[in-house]
């Protein structure tokens, strides 16, 4: 599933990386615990989170995650957006809460998550 499609499903706004909407996503991880994200290894993964500090970008960088969705309408500060641009990541924000956002993506076919 392309990031473009994820943006449509979640009715999300683009905060960074609008030139990278064709990135292909094959799995997703929804968490506010970055250490749990760091235990999750999947290729071409999407991160959904309610956290908006710079360590979200760092965590994604270490994991080779290139697309992040902030849930519950959260918008990070400019510093974080700049860091994401520097790392060529896509940042989206959706009004949906975590549970609904994950559910919408799952029921649209993005069903790969977790370990194994």
């Amino acid at each position: 599933m392309k990031v473009e499609r994820i943006k449509e499903i979640l009715d999300a706004e683009i905060l960074a990386g609008k030139e990278h909407l064709d990135i292909e996503i094959t799995s997703a991880c929804g968490s506010d615990l970055m250490s749990d994200v760091l235990a999750f290894v999947k290729d071409q993964a999407l991160l959904l989170t309610g956290l908006v500090n710079s360590q979200v970008i760092r965590t994604a960088e270490m994991m080779d995650i290139r697309a992040i969705v902030f849930v519950r309408g959260k918008v990070p500060d400019k510093e974080l957006i700049d860091l994401a641009n520097q790392k060529e990541m896509v940042l989206l924000t959706t009004k949906h809460p975590m549970y609904i956002a994950c559910g919408l993506l799952y029921s649209s076919g993005l069903t790969c998550g977790g370990e194994g």
Partner: protein
Amino acid sequence: MMISLHYEVDGQDFALAGEASSNVKKVLKQLGVKPDIIRRVAIAMYEGEMNMVIHANGGIADVEITPSKIVIIMQDTGPGIEDIELAMKEGYSTAPDAIREMGFGAGMGLPNIKKYTDQLQIISEVGKGTRLEMTIFVK
């Protein structure tokens, strides 16, 4: 061939934590190391860096890269780990609430480091500090 990298990890700035791991990741990429090896090194070192920022007011990191392995040595002069076996347990953490609110301190740091490295040696003395030596073999 051996490449040695040295970093000082600032313990005061939570926002900057991860800079050293980010840099190592870049170097390994330039050297053409396989992506899955790079990811394991980056995650293990990043968790180590976060630990030093959260618990030990920073420290130093040395990375040695050879064609056969990558060794990361992280040393701090923090409070030390009282019970290493307990600290290795998933979910056990002594991190303060402020750190938890930022998405860390879930008690996954050392377990994650162990998970992503081939060898892990921890030497720690209460009141003196902690030394982590992580080895990842390049297959």
